[in-house]
């Protein structure tokens, strides 16, 4: 058990963890993208928009939307691969 476990982790995830891994990736992506968007929004709001709240919200929205789209794409791609294998 001690021997095969690391090799598995390195090579590829267990099949039942495929979906979970995708979810993890999506969530991390969501956090990163929305944070980035928030950052840009804050900077813009400070520099251009007299510290209004909406630029920051818009930035978050952009980031989250981007992440959502990527996640959607990856899931659909996976589904397509499965179909192709079948």
């Amino acid at each position: 058990m001690a021997e095969p476990a690391p090799s598995r982790a390195v090579s590829r995830p267990v099949s039942e963890a495929l979906l979970n891994e995708k979810w993890d990736r999506c969530l991390s992506n969501l956090i990163i993208k929305s944070t980035l968007g928030l950052g840009f929004g804050v900077v813009f709001s400070v520099l251009l928009f007299k510290r209004r709240a909406w630029p920051a919200l818009v930035g978050v929205g952009f980031g989250a939307g981007r992440a959502y789209e990527e996640c959607n794409y990856s899931l659909k791609q996976a589904a397509r691969d499965i179909k192709k294998q079948a």
Binding site: M1, E3, P4, V14, S15, E16, A17, L18, L19, N20, W23, C26, Y68, C71, N72, L75, K76, A79, R80, I82, K83, A86
Partner: protein, 697 residues
């Protein structure tokens, strides 16, 4: 545009303004605008045409202002518009117009007739000039085509009636140049003219038929001559007649030839008088001297006499008074059979005919007479020569025949003597030869008899020898047979013994084999058990390579065992296989994940995944062997099978999934499959081991 706008303005505006503008603008345009009150384009063609029509006015520049009467005239012509548009009553305009209208009403009609007249005149002029020009061109073409050949070709080919015209002209020219040619060419004689034939030409009015000779003369030559005459109608009649005569006369002589052959001498005598009467130029009695001359030849004389008499009798009234000629009689030679003489006679006769018809018989009569004499003499000489030669030849032939007869007799007698002598000699030789042959045959017969006797003796000796050898061989065989019978009795017993020993040895060896096989099968059983134990004992998967290697060694190339071991995937014995407990544990995890993805649609995005995750939490769980193809029931069934320990069926159920569910359970399935394969292989090996042990017993 500018004009139209101006015009429209003018139409709307008052009269003076229109009149003022009218000076600048073309009258008709203004009038039209006033009349209809319509807008029209500046490039309307009609007014321009009307303006151009009078040829006399083209001298004035177009820019010059139109003459006042014109303007007034136009106003007059536009008498209706004032009625239509009473809103514009300018005082000076109408006044002027009424005045001018009164003045110019007479000139108003002229333009239309003039126009019509002009048109017709123009048309007439146009046609006239056209016809004149074309006539001129045609005439010029005809004239030039007579000068230039190239143009002639072109003109006659492309211009209608050009060819006829040119031809006609050429013919006229030709006739003018040669007025007589036309009549000559046509070959027709003018009706009034008469053909005059000179009296001396020898032509007579008589038809050159010669019908009088048809009945009297039966020779074929006559007919030929008639046909020839028919053919040569173009010739003068006299010539044909003369030819007829020449044709008849030799024939007559030929008939008389046979009769005259016996008396060749009188022929020349008879001929001699002929030349004498011939030269007499008496017109009518010409035939009279001929008749006595021809008396010896009875047939031709009457023929010629009547032939000439009808000729003369009607002649008295006719214009031609001259007889054709007083002919020299043609030559008749009795020796005409000779070809040379015949040729000569012909020649002479031809000459005579020519002379006869030339009317010069008097001139040449003496000469011809001499020639005839000579000819007849020559004929006589030739005949004499012939007879002399014939007699000579006959004599010689008779002498030769006699000589031959004598020689033949001598030859026959000599041959007979020689033959008798030869016959006697042959007989003697034959007898001698027969005696010699008899002797030689006798000696040969004796020799053959002696040789046959010797041969028979030798054969007898050989037979005796063969019998002796056969007897000896039989004796040897008998001895050998007896010896072998004795020996076989003992050797057979020895062989039996050795066979028995060998079978004993085999038995012993067989038992050894049996023991060995037993051992091996036992070892096989042990090894299989070891593998099984290693699989089942372990809490954790553990490689069982060593056990498998041992098993393979013990199996010792058993094909079944080898195949079974080969069917186990290498990953299984290198890493070991998971235990049932582990499989069940893992199945629980996999089932949870699969449940989450149980409600996914075909092409799922984030939203559908999230909804499936959420909804799967509220799904009811099934129990036992649930019926149905949905993911939940499949999972429930697989779990039930697993709890019963039926790995095979559980794997089958999970294999029936599809899509995300199958992808998620892929690794678990692979694991289960591995375990099953190992189990199957071990079962096969165990069965084989049992079979081996059974075989041994």
């Amino acid at each position: 545009m500018l004009r139209t706008s101006l015009r429209s303005v003018r139409a709307l505006g008052n009269r003076p303004a229109a009149a003022a503008a009218g000076r600048q603008w073309q009258v008709s345009a203004a009038r039209r605008a006033v009349v209809s009150g319509q807008r029209s384009y500046a490039d309307n063609k009609k007014p321009a045409d009307q303006a151009k029509l009078p040829a006399s006015e083209t001298l004035t520049a177009p820019s010059t202002a139109p003459p006042p009467p014109r303007q007034t005239e136009t106003v007059a012509s536009s008498t209706i518009p004032p009625e239509n548009a009473p809103l514009t009553p300018p005082a000076p305009g109408p006044a002027v117009t009424s005045e001018t209208a009164a003045k110019t009403t007479p000139p108003a009609p002229p333009p239309t007739p003039r126009k019509k007249k002009g048109f017709f005149r123009r048309l007439r002029n146009y046609i006239l000039t056209l016809t004149l020009l074309s006539a001129l061109a045609f005439g010029g073409g005809v004239w030039y085509s007579r000068i230039n050949d190239n143009f002639h070709d072109f003109f006659t080919e492309y211009v209608p009636y050009g060819e006829q015209a040119v031809l006609y002209l050429e013919e006229l020219d030709f006739k003018k140049r040669f007025p007589n040619v036309a009549s000559r060419v046509t070959g027709r004689r003018p009706d009034g003219e008469q053909v005059k034939i000179p009296a001396q030409s020898g032509a007579s009015w008589r038809v050159a038929d010669g019908s009088e000779s048809a009945g009297r003369q039966s020779s074929a030559i006559q007919k030929e001559a008639v046909t020839k005459a028919a053919k040569t109608k173009g010739e003068p009649a006299v010539v044909t007649e003369a030819k007829k005569e020449t044709a008849t006369l030799p024939r007559a002589e030929a008939t008389t030839n046979e009769a005259e052959l016996q008396k060749p001498v009188p022929a020349p005598v008879e001929k001699k008088p002929k030349p004498e009467p011939a030269p007499t130029p008496t017109p009518t009695p010409a035939p009279v001297p001929v008749v006595p001359a021809a008396e010896p030849a009875p047939a031709p004389a009457p023929a010629s006499a009547p032939a000439k008499q009808p000729f003369k009798a009607p002649e008295v009234d006719e214009p031609s008074r001259w007889p054709p000629a007083s002919p020299i009689d043609p030559l008749a030679v009795p020796d005409a059979a000779e070809p040379v003489v015949q040729d000569l006679v012909h020649m002479l006769n031809d000459i005579i005919t020519v002379i006869n018809h030339d009317g010069a018989s008097e001139k040449y009569a003496a000469t011809i007479g001499k020639a005839k004499d000579e000819l007849s003499k020559v004929g006589g000489k030739i005949r004499d020569l012939k007879t002399a030669v014939e007699q000579d030849a006959a004599k010689q032939v008779r002498q030769r025949v006699d000589d031959f007869d004598r020689a033949a007799n001598e030859l026959v007698s000599r041959l007979e003597a020689v033959m008798t002598a030869q016959e006697q000699q042959f007989r003697r030789e034959f007898e001698a030869e027969a005696a010699r042959l008899r002797q030689s045959y006798d000696s040969k017969v004796r020799l053959i008899q002696e040789r046959e006797r010797q041969l028979a003796e030798a054969k007898l000796g050989n037979q005796l020898l063969e019998q002796a050898i056969q007897l000896q061989r039989q004796f040897a065989r008998d001895v050998q047979q007896q010896v072998e019978e004795e020996r076989d009795g003992r050797l057979g017993k020895l062989q039996e013994l050795s066979a028995a020993v060998a079978s004993l040895e085999q038995l012993a060896a067989g038992w050894n084999n049996v023991i060995d096989a037993n051992l091996r099968t036992q070892q096989l059983h042990v090894a299989v058990e070891a593998v099984r134990a290693s699989l089942e004992d372990a809490r954790h998967p553990r490689p069982f390579v060593r056990e498998l290697v041992a098993l393979k060694e013990i199996a010792a190339q058993d094909p079944v065992v080898d195949a079974a071991i080969a069917s186990i995937p290498p990953a299984a014995y290198q890493r070991g296989v998971s235990t049932p407990a582990e499989l069940v544990d893992r199945f629980r995890r996999v089932a949870a994940e699969v449940r989450k993805a149980a409600l996914l649609p075909d092409d799922a995005g984030v939203a559908s995944h999230a909804s499936s995750y959420v909804l799967s939490k509220v799904l009811f769980r099934k129990q036992g062997l649930a019926a149905g193809d949905d993911v939940e029931s499949v999972l429930t069934r697989a779990q039930t099978f697993l709890e019963e320990g039926d790995l095979d069926n559980a794997a089958r159920e999970m294999n029936g999934l599809s899509g995300w569910a199958k992808t998620l359970s892929r690794d678990w399935l692979a694991e289960v499959r591995k375990v099953l394969e190992v189990r199957q292989a071990l079962e096969v090996i165990q069965t084989e081991a049992r079979l081996q042990s059974l075989k041994v017993e």
